[in-house]
Symmetry: D2
Subunit: 300 residues, 4 copies
């Protein structure tokens, strides 16, 4: 399949590599040049612009940081929309706002192309191992045509609807649930610490005996050991996703007081200069507010 | 071992039964009489008052609904404290406030007795199967002496400290974490439902692929299917435990904004008349606030 | 002074009328035509486009509903920016986001024009009576030149800084404070009502004896009498301003948990279909959550 | 009138002094002795116990710090209840929980005495000047008999119902409204400060032009100038009153998310060691969370 791939960050590069390994004919575009060198042989053709890339692709895959990055790539004279052919499928795998997904779906439709949303759960190591979980939404026929791409990238694809925005809602709602678990542990650990209880022991009880989730185990261990660097997923990106959840709630008139609370804890962490620590480091806000630590202590 | 057991509710009766089966000599006391008939042979001696029971026990086990019920049993002319002998251990397994645990520990000490806190994780079916997880705190020697009791009741005991209140803090912090997961799912499900996404499908994604916890699976299924009766754990009891968490936070100067938010959602559920549905039914507050359902619909 | 005035809604029409009365030479533009007929004699010239209007104005005044409306008027081939002359001052009086103010300030600067932000406190009746309070920010010389406009529109102008966004921050922070008072009363009234206390009597105590504010008196009376229609200021617009406050906080890393809470209460009101009642009607969310009223009762 | 007065703190001493000046025959009791020396001539008889005081009073006035202090004075062998005569009125002016008010009302009734709740709005200087506002609830005949006391202490009395707890609900709801105003200003000031706007200028706009309340003026000035010592009303006492409001809400199934948020901000302030600064100092929590100040800076 002739695939155009836009966005060679940590996630995108790993995913594009898997498409190369699956023998797809890949053209890539990345705002910062030179990243294509990291692809396995035989590598990919490098397009000069997103427009050029779009002009010659059956499927365009985008994997970008946020709404802004995706818009910068799609719109404008050199943007992908300007080169888009009738019949092309845009498989948009970034975590973006449901609102932008709706807008882009309409833009593609007017050009005779199809927009499919397919955000993923999984970190760069899962992307590398083709072990992502893919959440897809869009016209059924288009999703069908994308199966070879999904097969090369993930361990499974769940279709949640025919409207692309639905996949984005699932993704941001999912990250909201993870952030809830992190902040709940942050508060609980602050409480038990102030009563002289070892947070690791508490985690052992609550996760091994009750919740039994690898997510709680991983984040709980980071919080119990206060080990927030290097970041697996940066706090600033966690905040971005909470903003998307709140925006989705706002647009559909769904009050999300818990998401708001998480958002505010993340903003407080930003104000302390912790943008680039792991998002589980938001737990430090709870610890500091309980007087457990000096605020200006460098997180580590 | 001569054990006095106070509190033959659903949990207590199951636990007392296991002590009988383990061949301990049991004396029981329950405010409402007649419950001892539910014990397996050879059954137990029934004390007329908590005071009588206390006078003849090596270990007193209490398993009561809340602070008030425990206080009613301990204090007063017929209360257990009035009959307490030097050297007796009070194994307090109810979910009560850390503050009351501290007060009772002091009361026992002045009488030459020992107070050990050992709240449990697990529902009546786990109690029946002797599969509880026990969280213990108190003087090490006293905990040591209670091991035969723990062996008869649970599948494991974790000691979290030498101050009894610590076990109660762990228990209420643990239930707070469970309530957080419930309310997070409640909000997330309201969001996805309003975007036309099947909540069961969403749960499949977020739990089977990401969180992978039996707790999320169980509560998530109840929420997705709106199946809140009969209650496994009543909403009013969930609220009680959140109050205990907030009280523990208040006493130790630990702000718990997430626990406060959960508390307020539970209070809102109480105001709608949902005190006796399962605590996962608090998710209906999120659904109703999003305009998804009429508030006066009977939960089912 | 040759003034171009864009936006003849309830506020804008009243303000433009005062400029006519002050003998300024007015050109007006409104997306919906025909509104200029409501101006006092000698009336105003009507421009066909915002661009035309801009080409012939010393000062352009904009008074529009929100960011979107202002952007639609400024950008594009017929937008005001396309017609803007060097030396023109754009006096932007709408309640918009600080972020858009910054962006527009930069756009004007590159065209040799000057952007001054001057949002107002006051309702249409205050606009009519030239009794607005104007909060201005921008280059001092430009503000100086706008004094004749301020004199014709308000009873006073307070300059808060040289960066236009600052005036918008003051405005949204001010509306946030008003919304806080409303929601605080909503909760307090729900509490006293449930204890059988007359909310009007409570208001008498708390405002006449303690707070002594006309704002509390007005909104408190609306809440106590549940009289939310017709709207003085629509709930949907209150929500818009809370969004702007949160956005301003987000951009400057200022967590605003109280603003988040207000936002969520307003979103909940939107979900019940109360977008067009007075913003003090958000108090019904507190009443309904306390079980005081059926959610589907039509507010009145 | 033969009045027994219990509680000679700053408020109580000023109030008792006014009763002396109004020629009432006063007997006083205070846990810490010696305070009666501060009364004006001819002074008061000093009772050895609350029981003795109660035995010889037509009206007992209590003005104590909290539920605990009042309970310590009422119950026990030397408590006021033990000495209470049939027909005596207990005028309870402390800010206590509605729950305790209900309990005490019942205790008095069984003894043929009457409990009237009459908490006050006003600080020690208002108490000194007999300018308190008194909120009364209880049997109408008993309130009638207390009018001479009210006349000597305040500038007005508002009766809110016949059930004593109602007056306490009004009082804690009133303090909740004041705390809301403080925290709203704290957030708003943090926001404007981070945008480089002078908080005093902001206060001038929002209060002088819009809210126009002496409460906002006073607290706003303290916050703008960060002048939190000496305390007019200690932060720890503000927290106490928020706890009472939440407890009242909890008992009547009224969710109070705004009160919860305020509570958590106050708890956070306690954790930073700010228990004894003025309650307006809770605004520093917002400032610190926005990264505006080091947390360990001594408030001044």
């Amino acid at each position: 399949m002739r695939i155009g791939f836009i966005g060679l960050g940590n996630m995108g590069l790993a995913m594009a590599g898997n498409l190369v390994r699956a023998h797809h004919a890949l053209t890539v575009y990345n705002r910062t040049p030179g990243r294509a060198a990291g692809l396995p042989a035989p590598g990919a053709r490098v397009a000069k612009t997103a427009r050029d890339l779009a002009a010659d692709a059956e499927v365009i895959v985008t994997m970008l940081a946020d709404d802004e990055a995706l818009m910068a790539t799609m719109f404008g004279v050199d943007g992908a929309l300007a080169g888009l052919c009738r019949g092309t499928i845009h498989l948009s795998m970034s975590t973006i706002s449901p609102g932008l997904a709706e807008r882009l779906a309409a833009e593609h439709e007017t050009r005779g192309a199809t927009y499919v949303a397919a955000p993923v759960f999984g970190r760069p190591d899962a992307a590398q191992a083709a072990k992502l979980w893919i959440v897809a939404a869009g016209p059924a026929a288009a999703i069908e045509r994308c199966l070879p791409v999904f097969d090369a990238l993930g361990q499974g694809t769940i279709v949640v609807g025919t409207s692309p925005a639905q996949a984005n809602v699932v993704k941001v709602a999912g990250n909201f649930i993870l952030a809830s678990a992190i902040v709940a542990m942050g508060e609980a650990f602050a409480l038990v610490r102030k009563y002289g209880i070892d947070p690791g022991r508490f985690l052992e009880i609550i996760n091994e005996k009750v919740v039994r989730s690898p997510v709680y185990q991983n984040y709980g261990t980071l919080i119990a050991t206060e080990h927030f660097e290097p970041a697996g997923f940066k706090l600033r990106h966690g905040l971005k996703d909470l903003r998307l959840a709140l925006q989705a709630g706002d647009e559909a008139a769904v009050p999300l007081p818990l998401a708001s609370l998480l958002h505010d804890q993340f903003v407080s962490a930003m104000a302390q200069g912790w943008a680039d620590i792991d998002w589980s480091g938001v737990a430090r806000v709870s610890a500091v507010n309980a007087g457990l630590e000096a605020r200006d202590k460098a997180p580590a």
